[in-house]
Symmetry: C2
DNA sequence: GCAAAAGTGTTTACGCTACACCCATGA
DNA sequence: TCATGGGTGTAGCGTAAACACTTTTGC
């Protein structure tokens, strides 16, 4: 429905598309940026410097500008927030839109939420003013500002589900990775342990999930047998899926 | 991100939350309302009476009002469009948000799209003015107005995927239904034939998917053995999933 | 040698597919 | 009695869980 006259608010027409006839909506994006660092699932958060929720942590985000789509706004905000210039290979996925009246006490804000996955992320540099920005472990978060707890939980749930039937996990890994690292992504996001031999077979049996790097092996933290290196393959979906263990 | 000053457009603050500082965005909902009627997948469409796209078919939808969420707007629009007063048991699911600039030539419109599933739907009565509204078969649709072809395709894809791992199919069925009708939903949405004995076993083996109605059997269109009646059970997800055949 | 991590093999159980077959009804 | 759709049984294959085992490195 696109500003269709015969279905305008209350059934009356917005006389000749009067753009200012109604209380305006602000349209923003919110970003749940996830990464696996130091063996834990971490989230990029910013500290609010002003009311409401001053001093509380929140998801990064910002206004959608008149000339850009929500996806473009999300990429721009993410680049500003992380300082990353090369966002190729970044996985950015629209989650859903949060539109409840009153979710921002100041005005009507409709927010399009995104989930983004990074590997080897840089330390963020705050937004340019009082607000700090930093990575924080997903477990052990105080309550966030606004409805961001819920957005973050939705993002976690979505990412966990997509690991089952897509090749998304490679988005958490550097360009070349070991199967142990890939398995660690699954275990960290799902919070469960997986059987290594079976995991290995599943991954290698799925054509296009990963492909071996012809070069040499790499040491894994010094200890243990050197592991073979793999790259992400061309596939997007997993057939059959790699299901979470049912506890 | 909720109208946070330090991340306002261009990095400058929207001086004291001036709600009218920017070109306003219109926020609407678009509804992809699906049903299985006469053995075919059908969609609820409205005919546009005004420019742009006058005379073209479009998805129903409308503005989000200042006091309501997108979900509430979607339910209201659906009730107005179909004349249904009892929308309990209705499956209404947010699809995604379409925000590309230029998707409506008149002004900036950000639209939250929903997929809705109905069984035994009534004939719609147009929006109250020139526009007609009617059910049309999913296959055999001319190009729709705006980007509604894409929204509808996204809805179809999402619903097809959710049939695999959720109990969504019962939303296409009346309160009491036969397993043959349930199977027909799968076959219609997926466009494939399924093996009846195997389908039956899968469904009955999933606890909470369906539960038998203690009462008597019903004739199926007069011909054949009377089929047992089932109701939707309490389960929401399917473990293990009922996967589409891979052709 | 020992610990740690990578990689291989094997056994077993279950789920799914593909059929063949029987049952109850209307015309 | 035949066509139609509901319902049951079963043989065989493939996948996957569980666990034992070998290999290669650092200390």
């Amino acid at each position: 429905m696109e500003a269709e006259e015969n279905r305008a608010p209350g059934g009356t027409a917005p006389e000749g598309y009067d753009k200012y006839a109604f209380e305006p909506f602000a349209v923003t994006v919110d970003l749940a940026v996830l990464t696996v660092r130091a063996g834990a699932l971490q989230v990029l958060l910013v500290e609010r410097g002003t009311q409401p929720y001053a001093g509380r942590w929140a998801l990064p985000g910002g206004f959608v500008l008149p000339h850009e789509s929500a996806e473009e706004a999300a990429r721009r905000e993410l680049a500003e927030e992380t300082g990353l210039s090369d966002l190729t290979g970044l996985h950015l996925e629209q989650l859903r839109t949060y539109s409840e009246p009153g979710r921002d006490p100041r005005m009507r804000v409709v927010s399009v939420a995104f989930a983004a996955l990074l590997s080897d992320p840089p330390e963020p540099h705050g937004g340019g003013d009082a607000a700090r920005a930093m990575w924080q472990p997903y477990d052990d978060l105080g309550p966030l500002a606004f409805d961001h707890d819920r957005i973050l939980a939705d993002a976690h749930e979505r990412v966990g589900a997509k690991l089952e039937y897509s090749c998304l996990a490679t988005s958490f890994c550097p360009p070349e990775f070991t199967l142990g690292e890939l398995q660690h992504v699954y275990e960290t996001v799902w919070g469960t342990a997986l059987d290594r031999p079976n995991f290995r077979r599943k991954v290698l049996a799925t054509p296009g999930f990963v492909e071996q790097v012809p070069g040499a092996a790499r040491l894994t933290g010094g200890r243990g047998k050197p592991a073979a290196l793999y790259r992400a393959g061309g596939a997007k979906v997993l057939h059959p899926p790699l299901l979470r263990p049912t506890p």
